[in-house]
Amino acid sequence: MRKTQISALMASTLLVSAFAASATVSAEPVKIGFVATLSGPSAPLGVHMRNGFQLALKELGGKLGGQPTEVVIVDDELKPDVAVTKVKGLLERDKVNVVAGVVFSNVMMAIAKPVFESETLLVSGNAGPSPLAGAGCSPFFFSASYQNDQNHEAMGAYAQAKGFKRVVLMTPNYQAGRDSLAGFKRYYKGEVVEEMLTPLGQLDFSAELAKLAASGADAVFTFMPGGMGVALVKQFSQSGLNKKMQFLSAFTVDETTLPATKDAAEGMISGAQWAPNLENAENKAFVAAYEKEFGAPPSLYASQGYDLAKLLDGAIKTTGGNVSDKAALRKAIAAAPFKSVRGAFKFNANGFPIQDFFVVKAVKRADGAFVTQMQEKIFSAQSDAYVAQCALK
């Protein structure tokens, strides 16, 4: 036998023993597969969501519903195909009881199918794509966050109420971006001067800002998560446009981007279902604990991650620690047996929350940190626009 063949066989033996080693992980405790975007320009969102989740778990002594809990965290890299492969790993290798997390809707749409097919519960910590709320809703899906359109709807309603006559809309050219435009326009009835769609990941907005300045609009509404938002906010104020028109956004000016934009974002208005200064005991405790643990104010993603862990904790408590009876666990989650940092919180028939939505404003806090702050409530106990299309009752 030649050297080449021997080496090839050696390699295969190594491969196989590596497989065997990883295949014999025991499955005793409650197992949660946590999917988040942890690399690339949008990583801060995933990091906040994960931090929130881990903070809650720590407060619960590392246990969910009193059961020892193992959390397997995977980075989806914001690539749907990579996410699918890794989620298959969670389902088949780690045999998780619940898949949780997920920042981006395209990742959620990609993994939903294999998760539902394996009849595993999928609880979102952020992404709330419309197909899963409407015709494509599933008994295995819950959202601990919102339905995607809702924060944009809140902004649309705000723009309508404040009497902005001419608004320019600007989002990245992808599904969530186009959805956000639809959400905004559902409640805004004034003139939309122009809709600008930019490539996903674009960081220099000079061309768009020049057009914006020439448009004569009295407000711009935008949805630019992560690094795109940082760049846009900085360039917006640098070009002096912040003195000419109101900057309205969702998922753009929040505690993940404020540390980078600082005073450039001051006074900007966003739609949100939560802010650090939302008045309730749970939230006060959460914000204080988060700032102590991570040295910076939490964002809405962190609050959702935190709520997600508390939701699972409450549900597993209800089932008496039994996570293998999926019907029982599902029923327990649907009752939302936990105290949300958002205050009133309950699930709709499609597994999405019924909750309040607010207008928040970026401000500099007394201690110098930049945070979002409650301005006014826009919607009370709001359902999403798609629940009627969902067959679940």
Binding site: Q5, A8, S12, F19, A20, S22, P80, G89
Partner: protein, 327 residues
């Protein structure tokens, strides 16, 4: 003429190349069988991914190693293959014989259009032109709003073969992919020794000589470019089935770059090396990525160390010889 000086009818170099190919394929099947017996379905899908990536890497390795053409746009035919699978499946055409041939033909036709333009140049300019064409297809895919636009779309249903659900489980998909990989690897190994392979390989070293021998250099390079694109599209069809998902990210230049890295890591001109490197990179990501989100740091250090310290590649490390007709 005395018989001693005749070339042997059984070509020893070809025999050895084929044996190496069989050994690598055998190793993959052995790993798949072990994973099945050990009851580790996840590892099955991992092996499937390795086989699919290997097909893509193999087509690029053929292009770089045997034709001397470094394409920085090889993600494009892969993505085209994936979109063909997505669109045909949505229309109810799930048969692999149709999907694979349609993907092969479409990618080959596109290569037939872009190839002559890129082949007016060589070296870095060729690299950049292939990148330019791939970027154009990336943006086209991103603008297909009814096919998911930038987000991509889930595959309506997995492919079938003559009515059979041949890709129903991950194990079947992996086995089918390895079988296809075997066919492509062995055909490619064989081809390296045929007249076509002999001419192509000579071109990578000395285009002037080959032209003076009566061969139209650019025609041969174009054939190679077209074949490589077609084979890459085949891996795209499998990739779509494996992930059950198709997105423009498949056509991103990062993917083209990663594929070049896999080929060079495996050793240019060493076909089984491309399979080894695909396995290494995927396993690296799986196992190191399981422990730290900074696994790319580890991969980067490993790559730099391999390049700097040994100055050789994985294929050489495992004793895989350079393929081709050299005695």
């Amino acid at each position: 003429m005395n018989d001693m000086n005749r070339a042997a009818v059984v070509n020893p170099a070809l025999k050895q190349d084929l044996l190496t190919g069989f050994a690598v394929i055998g190793a993959l099947f052995a790993a798949l069988a072990t994973a099945q017996i050990a009851g580790a379905p996840y590892l099955t899908s991992l092996i499937g991914r390795i086989a699919i990536t290997s097909i893509a890497a193999l087509s690029l390795s053929f292009l770089i190693g045997q034709a001397g053409l470094v394409s920085f746009g090889h993600a494009a035919p892969i993505g085209i293959g994936a979109y063909v699978a997505l669109m045909l499946a949505a229309g109810g055409t799930t048969d692999l014989s149709i999907q694979l041939s349609a993907a092969f033909i479409l990618a080959a036709l596109i290569a037939l259009i872009t190839g002559p333009i890129a082949l007016k140049t060589r070296g870095v300019t060729f690299i950049m032109l292939t990148l330019a064409f791939a970027q154009m297809f990336f943006y086209v895919a991103s603008s297909l709003v009814s096919w998911g636009g930038d987000d991509g779309m889930a595959l309506a249903q997995r492919s079938t073969l003559f009515g059979y659900q041949i890709l129903r489980t991950d194990a079947m998909l992996a086995a089918f992919s390895i079988a296809l990989l075997a066919v492509i690897l062995l055909a490619n190994t064989w081809m390296a020794h045929t007249r076509f392979g002999l001419v192509l390989k000579a071109m990578t070293e000395n285009e002037r000589r080959v032209a003076a021998n009566g061969f139209e250099v650019n025609h041969f390079l174009l054939y190679a470019f077209v074949i490589a694109a077609g084979v890459a599209a085949v891996s795209g069809v499998l990739l779509a089935n494996q992930a059950n998902y198709v997105s423009p990210a498949y056509l991103n230049w990062h993917r083209s770059g990663e594929l070049i890295v896999i080929v060079v890591l495996g050793g240019v001109g060493r076909l089984p090396g491309a399979v080894l490197a695909s396995a290494l990179v995927i396993l690296f990501e799986e196992f190191l990525g399981h422990y730290t989100e900074y696994w790319k740091l580890g991969l980067g250090l490993t790559i730099v160390a391999i390049v700097l310290l040994r100055g050789r590649d994985l294929g050489a490390f495992f004793g895989v010889r350079n393929q081709g007709a050299r005695p």
